[in-house]
């Protein structure tokens, strides 16, 4: 839209305004991250423990666990994503409203973890959706989840509102849809989403 572009340029000129707006925006979404009520496996119990009295995720304003993806900001992939579950996870991620964040909690969510040799276990959810923060551990302690949460907040703080470095959801060109894999006769098809998953070569 031409008008929008002009508006953006106009706003770019008024740098201060954008900066304040950016700060306000980042502060707002950083301080009010509502997780999706979404537990997969072992780590879910630690995720629940994090919201409970001892650790109290609520102190950060993040105890509003929304059951519907429409109202949630953050998806905590807490546990093993199996190949049977992966399409559902990807679909749920797709159905969340932007901006949305993903925390891969625990070894299984990052890489398949101890179960990665299994035939039905997805070797990391980042094969299909972009993950913001990874927490290793099996399961990570509740404090580790809190730390990851703060890491995510820092990450949000550093995101500019305009310009090249702006996050995915502010970029009109960046894809908003992440295709849901099909369940084939032997495996998921495709086995990974090439636009989010590029593997570094391991030198051996």
């Amino acid at each position: 839209m031409a008008v929008d572009e002009q508006l953006k340029i106009e706003m770019g000129k008024q740098g201060v305004f954008v900066t304040t707006l950016q700060e306000l925006y980042n502060w707002g979404r950083r301080s009010s991250i509502w997780p999706m009520n979404f537990g997969l496996a072992c780590c879910a119990i630690e995720m629940i423990a994090t919201t409970m009295a001892r650790y109290d995720l609520a102190r950060f304003g993040a105890e509003v666990f929304r059951p519907s993806p429409r109202q949630a900001d953050m998806m905590i992939i807490s546990g093993t994503v199996t190949k049977k579950m992966a399409p559902q996870v990807v679909r749920l991620y797709n159905q969340m409203a932007e901006p949305r964040y993903v925390i891969a909690m625990g070894a299984c969510a990052i890489s398949g973890g101890p179960f990665k040799q299994g035939y039905n276990v997805l070797k990391g959810i980042d094969r299909y959706i972009p993950v913001d923060v990874h927490i290793p551990g099996c399961p990570p302690r509740p404090e580790a989840l809190l730390e990851a949460f703060m890491t995510l907040q820092k990450k949000i703080d550093a995101q500019p509102l305009t310009g090249e470095a702006r996050p995915r959801h502010l970029d009109e060109q960046a894809p908003g849809e992440f295709p849901v894999p099909e369940q084939g006769a032997h495996d998921l098809e495709p086995p990974a989403n090439k636009s989010v998953w590029t593997v570094p070569v391991v030198i051996r």
């Binding site: 009295a53 001892r54 650790y55 109290d56 102190r59 070894a107 990052i110 890489s111 398949g112 973890g113 101890p114 179960f115 990665k116 040799q117 990391g124 980042d126 993950v131 913001d132 923060v133 990874h134 927490i135 290793p136 551990g137 099996c138 990570p140 302690r141 404090e143 580790a144 809190l146 730390e147 990851a148 703060m150 890491t151 990450k155 593997v199 570094p200």
Partner: protein, 220 residues
């Protein structure tokens, strides 16, 4: 009467609400980044490699026997054995790992590597703050990141570390005594050296891991 149970329940929550302002028992939150729960000695998260003395490389206890690599249930350890040798803590030349990688994005913190290590070289760390947005770089720990000093080990697991130290010192003393004896009796020298690695086996089983009959090094 109808509603009695509800009133009882309301009284219970009210008690907790009021109690949260006066009693620690009713306000159990530990405010994490500023406050921390008391460190539990046995607590384990990811493995690390212990080295003695000031130099990480020279004091490295690992002799790359690869037992942990083999026994690790999720296969998250990768070891590359050196071609050359360096002296270990008793002074005997041993191989060392050129490469020692642990993929903590896979590690299940089961402690089996620690249990099977005959050299007390790998131990469990208690650092859990490893969250990262770098999937490939941040979660693969290499030898440099894994090596931590014996002092650090003492600081996190004092009881266990003292036992390990005692055991190692005993072993070292034995080797030294044998070496001394060997120097005195040149004839016994060769025999003493051959027996040196075997001495690891009969070390008294400590309380920390009394079960494992110590394997006599290498894969059996």
């Amino acid at each position: 009467m109808l509603g009695e149970g509800i009133l009882k329940g309301l009284a219970e929550t009210a008690k907790n609400f009021a109690g949260s302002y006066v009693s620690k028992e009713r306000l159990t939150t530990v405010q994490y980044p500023e406050e921390r729960a008391e460190h539990i000695e046995a607590s384990r998260v990811f493995p690390f490699l212990v080295y003695d003395g000031p130099d990480a490389f020279a004091g490295m206890r690992c002799v790359s026997c690869q037992i942990c690599e083999k026994e690790c249930p999720p296969k998250c350890i990768y070891i590359e054995k050196s071609k050359d040798k360096k002296p270990d803590y008793v002074g005997k030349p041993q191989n060392y790992p050129v490469r020692f990688d642990i993929d903590i994005s896979v590690c299940m913190s089961c402690q089996i590597c620690v249990e099977v290590c005959p050299f007390d070289a790998i131990k469990m760390d208690s650092v859990f703050e490893m969250a990262t947005d770098n999937r490939f770089g941040g979660l693969l720990l290499d030898r440099e990141k894994l090596l931590k000093s014996n002092e650090y080990y003492h600081s996190i697991h004092p009881t266990e570390a003292t036992e390990v130290d005692g055991r190692l010192a005993e072993e070292k003393a034995k080797v030294e005594a044998k070496a001394k004896a060997a120097a005195e009796a040149a004839a016994a020298k060769a025999a003493a050296e051959a027996a040196a690695p075997k001495t690891a086996a009969p070390a008294a089983a400590p309380a920390a891991k009394p079960d494992a009959p110590k394997p006599t090094g290498g894969a059996e």
